[in-house]
Symmetry: C2
Subunit: 404 residues, 2 copies
Amino acid sequence: MQTVADIHSFNTFAVARAIHAAGVCTRRELVEATGLSFSTVATICGKLIANQVLVEVGRAAPTVGRPTTKLALNPSHGVFLGVDIAETYVHVETLDLALDTVSHTRRETQPSVNSPEEVLLEVNAAIAEEQGRHPGHRLLGVGVAAPGQVDQAGGLSLFAPNWGWHDVPLIDMLAPSVSAPLYLDNPLKSLVLAEIWANPERCSQDFAVVNLGTGVGAAFAIEGKVHRGSTNSAGEWGHTVLFGDGRACRCGSRGCVEAYVGAPGIIQTLREADPGSHLLRGDDQTATINALRAAAAAKNDPTALEVIALTGHYLGMALASIVNFLNPSIIVVTGWVARQLGPVLIDQAQPDINSHSLAVPLGAVRIEQPGANGNAVCRGVAAQAFEGYLKSLPDTAAEVAKRP
Amino acid sequence: MQTVADIHSFNTFAVARAIHAAGVCTRRELVEATGLSFSTVATICGKLIANQVLVEVGRAAPTVGRPTTKLALNPSHGVFLGVDIAETYVHVETLDLALDTVSHTRRETQPSVNSPEEVLLEVNAAIAEEQGRHPGHRLLGVGVAAPGQVDQAGGLSLFAPNWGWHDVPLIDMLAPSVSAPLYLDNPLKSLVLAEIWANPERCSQDFAVVNLGTGVGAAFAIEGKVHRGSTNSAGEWGHTVLFGDGRACRCGSRGCVEAYVGAPGIIQTLREADPGSHLLRGDDQTATINALRAAAAAKNDPTALEVIALTGHYLGMALASIVNFLNPSIIVVTGWVARQLGPVLIDQAQPDINSHSLAVPLGAVRIEQPGANGNAVCRGVAAQAFEGYLKSLPDTAAEVAKRP
DNA sequence: AGAGTTGTTGCGAGTCTCGTAATAATTGGT
DNA sequence: ACCAATTATTACGAGACTCGCAACAACTCT
């Protein structure tokens, strides 16, 4: 159930997102962007200014009349941390209020590092390093993305298959060394929030973010809200069936999308096309995918072209299933495989997307790749921390004064 | 964006649904059921009573204290019509305020009847017949379900593939002969609303309704709201890929779920298993499916058992894809094929659901078949008309008096 | 300097939820 | 028969929130 306070937070988020997207803007522009009344925008801006989240930056003198004051997020008010805990690395970014990355720390982790204590040692070290870099700045919130199944409210990693974690109290283990509110989410779901903050018109749209990497998954926004499902595990597009009774998948099942468009799946397609291909780099997935990209770009290796064509075919059908099932307005294709092969794969996939999608949803959808600036997972969880911070703000100047 | 009035309608719906589910209940029970405060429930009940939607029916005398007045929907306040326009029939039901079917009219339509004018002639005749049956009752609203792509706000049938309709102004064509607000929806999406009214705890859940018939489709509720997608065409599960490059589907694509678990797909499986099977009934899908059901029940026809096993296998994988993708708490399997073969198919599908679903979403989902009372599509669209009527109610007794 | 123009702030109306006090209706004891 | 005691319902007011409108502020142009 919604309460009236939820509406207010939502409106506050809408205003903050619009300012974030515009960089610098006027109240009137915010009215346009949010669809709220001028009064409401003014009230919300007043609250944000009283809390120093927003500042008035100069004024634009028009030909006539009182000049408009321009508003911007106050970058020096404080910072957020975005923590991306992945299987092979820990990446921590410091972001300012404009969600621009100020600095980052990355620690590659050895495959042997997989107990919660060992991983969190790395995380804490990276967080400490980042915090040490900005001693003068207030830390307003910390967003943490952890792979696998996550319990946001309880701050638990319910299940992380690659590490064999069960019910690890991540947030409780991090809390002692962090003096700011902590927010936990799954990395893919945090990308949805990153998309919304990057393109605030999406805050009322239906769209999907698709990850192509070693694993394959998706996350969706429905009317601008992340769809989580009944146990926060929605989005396992990678384990929907693409070829019934097809390839064995690492999940134990057969025929999953992941077994065809995940990096190991692509490499299997390559191996099936030419077991002795010179593009194969043994166990090194990254190197093989890179070699494939180079060969496809050079257009001199028929095997590479065949693998790209096949994988595009697979991807096209799998994306069409999303189009038909969900009827999104955008599908954002991301992940390290997409960064390497994305453009060429989507090119190859397009005919299959067209032929496998029904006309109406096909006409409504656009396939996109994100602009590659910084770590979007960190930005997404930081955005979540930002929203949490906005929600906690007091309304009136009087109450602001009372605060520490 | 949500407004505060939306919250009020939503709460009104919640109260009405709770009363509908309970039949007769006290205000206190409504507080329990809805989670609202007593004051709010009392306010809403007051509004509904002033509008004669709700009536006080007797009182329960406890051992001590003032007796509780029992509330119930006022069945004699008026009626709704639910109109289910399908390819082979038009089914119109009169429902009272408790959404119980009072009477119904069904007209089978000839395959030759397919122009909008001809179909609507049948519809209008059926509506007139139903209206004539209850001359003393106020008609409060009419819900209409039409197959294919529908524009709710505009009251258009955007696209109905079986009839070749494009942009038919259904509601405008019906309006002259109906003196009550008209509501249009797709039949599958209306089933979601029927489910919510039948089980109001679902008004905050994620669940899917799956239709197995000649065509195959799905609709989902996300946090109790029908998911429509960017062009109201979400739910085309029947045209997601199950066997890449597999059977040709009537949509023009290949390997769709519908080509395997729709009636023609099942019959194709039967024909492939035994081209001369005595279960085949030529063009008569219904008869063939019936024969298959009988043979499977008798367990004396190995071909029938094989077809059931195969179709269960297909259905299991396709349902597992929903489980993984959406993480719903319930999947309701409906449609005429499911009415015939449902229990045995779901039985056969279960191992594949289990093996193809990831553990967490699998643990959260329940596969159900609806209790078969009346036409749920009619009940769903009538519920939509009911909600529309509730939304239109004035707040105060004074305003009620002013009304016609 | 003053009129005209435009931006911002302040105030009040209208809703909505919800807590609490006041009132109503009953039972059981005296 | 009357008075607690008990429970149900209604009435009222507080606190939030959005939004329309009027007042005020700041600037340009004449």
